[in-house]
């Protein structure tokens, strides 16, 4: 039996799981504050536009989007199997493609800032 290539998909999942564990709750608090009308300074247009204008921030944002979407896609794939959806190849293709498409879209929008 051959060794599996699962590390390709599992590596970014593990990295994304770690990143979202450290970062996502704080990000959610920021947008929750904005949702409640107490918009944090960073989410004002000029501040955020200037922030997202730097190359380092663009890279960090694109990386965060990729790892967030990928780890969620991988978990959803496993959950689908747990819930009895047996078309694993189809589910995996759809979900990982969606994560990559989302990342590509984010990169495109970042390039326009």
């Amino acid at each position: 039996m051959a060794q599996s290539s699962k590390p390709i998909v599992w590596g970014p999942f593990a990295a994304g799981g770690t990143l979202t564990a450290f970062l996502t709750p704080a990000l959610m608090v920021l947008t929750l504050l904005a949702a409640l009308g107490y918009t944090p300074d960073l989410l004002a247009y000029e501040r955020l536009h200037a922030f997202a204008g730097s190359w380092l921030a663009k890279l960090a944002l694109a990386g965060t989007v990729f790892l967030t979407l990928w780890s969620a896609a991988h978990r959803l794939r496993i959950t689908c199997y747990d819930l009895g959806v047996r078309a694993d190849t189809l589910v995996a293709t759809l979900l990982y493609s969606a994560a990559l498409a989302g990342t590509a879209a984010a990169a495109l929008y970042l390039s326009r800032i």
Binding site: M1, A2, Q3, S4, S5, K6, P7, I8, W10, G11, A14, I78, Y81, D82
Partner: protein
Amino acid sequence: MTGRRVELEVLRYHPETDAAPRFQRYSVDCREEWVVLDALNHVKETLDPTLSYRWSCHMAVCGSCGMMINGEPRLACKSFLRDYQGVIRVEPLAHFPIERDLVTVIDDFMAKLKRVKPYLIPAQARALEQGEYRQTPAELKRYKQFTLCMNCMLCYAACPEYGLIPKFIGPAAISLAHRYNQDSRDGGRAARQEEIAAAEGVWECSFTGACSEVCPEHVDPAAALQQVKIKSTVDWYLAHLMPWLKK
């Protein structure tokens, strides 16, 4: 000496006469200090000699008497009656085919155990006169916890992924492979990786963690499997992104 009358609901299956398993109720006068295995022995000795189940040591060492007790995989010899109220439901270990009553067919696990080569494959052969393979206490500590597995298979009954994907090599076998991979005297990791780093190996684990919760010896198979995943991932990226490092 105190006692109480315990109601046992035991899954029965006789392949000669039964199309499907059925539950049978027994009322047993039990002593306060008895475990479920004592109650089953009492049933067999006094009420129903046709009841079949595996057991041997009665002291949580042999790993033979694993069964589902109120839906949870447990050793019958380690499950005290006083910890249960009402009817106690006893079934064979989940996810394994039933041979007869509480006896399961364990061929699948035995075959997987063999595949992962759970024995020392010396890194360097030594002649008898060179003496023993020596190891420091720290090197022993690295794998000692994983040596405690007694192949009771409770982890397989607890693992939803094994239930869903019968090909999955599963918690105990992979943990035992990891035990030898972690051994400073061993050189068999590459051979074991062919099995445990394959698609049916560690990658079917979704880290439910149930295996570690039910393990009567606190082997913590879930920990072993995550460590195997990380090491296999590092292997893969090194081999594919930095092939010049390959020996």
